[in-house]
Symmetry: C2
């Protein structure tokens, strides 16, 4: 079937969250006179709590809570582990770092090309205002902002994919999941989506060991969003 919508994972796939978060952490620490914190390690630690925090929601032990809420809870724990005290407003300010992350250099150009031929939208675990603020700041030309908050389900729960296709009025086969993570593509493929793996070998820094190569029978494997646009004939 023809691809009618390209749906993108965002953190790591469209934007370089690690560099972005580390930069925000450095600025935040500097402003508050906190020293001795490795901002990349801080970013990694914060991110490492991302998946476990969603598990409570995925497994039905907690009602759906948007990612801003989970990020903040995780941040409070990371600050505590570093014995850094901060006001609620200061925690909020640091938490909003996820709303402003740099796109990989090829993302905006590639997504803009795809947009001329199909619907382009995030299918991210990020909440709507996070994704929207990020898109405004980075110039990502989404047609709509979809994902976990709109579907009321976190990836890789099947509902996250299937409800998104349903909201778009499309069959799963008309949707292409674009991600730098094999696990995301595997879950999407099991729902009937097409799949495109985009290599992001430095998402986790220079010594990344995961998701360096395609780990499944994906429909497309690309080194950038521009390459993927070309593969899709855009």
């Amino acid at each position: 079937m023809t691809v009618r919508a390209a749906l993108f994972d965002v953190f790591g796939t469209v934007v370089d969250w690690r560099t972005g978060i580390a930069g925000h952490v450095d600025e935040w620490m500097d402003t508050r006179g906190v020293t001795g914190v490795d901002s990349f390690a801080f970013a990694d630690e914060w991110r490492s709590r991302y998946d476990p925090s969603m598990r409570e929601v995925r497994e039905g032990r907690r009602p759906f809570a948007r990612l801003d809420v989970l990020h903040r809870e995780n941040l409070v724990e990371v600050l505590l582990s570093h014995r850094i005290t901060a006001s609620d407003d200061d925690v909020d300010a640091l938490n909003s770092s996820w709303h402003a992350l740099p796109a990989w250099p090829d993302s905006v150009a590639g997504i803009t090309r795809m947009k001329s031929a199909m619907i382009v939208a995030p299918l991210s675990n990020g909440n709507v205002s996070l994704l929207l603020d990020m898109a405004k700041a980075a110039g990502i030309p989404w047609d709509a902002v979809l994902g976990a908050e709109v579907a009321h389900a976190y990836k890789p729960t099947p509902d996250a994919y299937l409800r998104t296709a349903d909201i778009l009025g499309l069959a799963p086969e008309e949707c292409l999941m674009v991600a730098a993570h094999n696990s995301d593509l595997k879950a999407a493929q099991q729902c009937g989506f097409g799949t495109a793996f985009v290599r992001r070998p430095t998402e986790h820094g220079p010594s990344q060991t995961v998701d360096l190569e395609a780990g499944g029978q994906w429909d497309h494997v690309a080194d950038s969003m521009e390459d993927l646009a070309t593969a899709l004939g855009c």
Copy 2:
């Protein structure tokens, strides 16, 4: 407070649904050899069932159903009243008319100007795929597609406005409701939204009698989206 998001009613405010639907009806009837139908009267009749059909959902007697579903049920009734028989596929085809409606001549230019200074998104009773297809076809540069389906509540229920502000991470006072309908603005104002009335004196055709003038203390009254953009300093 500063306006952070301009949220638009769509049918009548951004697009000329009556001309658009009548055109689609004419084409559909011609293709099927149906004669003797006044396509503007048909459009008006179809639209007149819009509000009553949402009432069941608003008043809690029916679970939320997206507008495509309500439009189709209403269309079946209108076809029946005209004694026109059609296949399910043909009914679907005519129902999709709402996904492709012409923007008023000033809409795209005005919304594009506002987009440079704030979030621009529909806050419509239309469902996501309807609004998205319409935007792609008419070139309306929404930042996100919000409204009844995402909020799971039909205007003028307060939740339609309040949940949309919440999803955006904004206070109601940071949201500006833009509509050609005084009733929509009244409900938004009661939720704390700013209000902008845009005159659309021919939405219901040349003999329109309703919503010709502002019917409340609105923050802005404009004759076009371009005028509103100017009033907002965009």
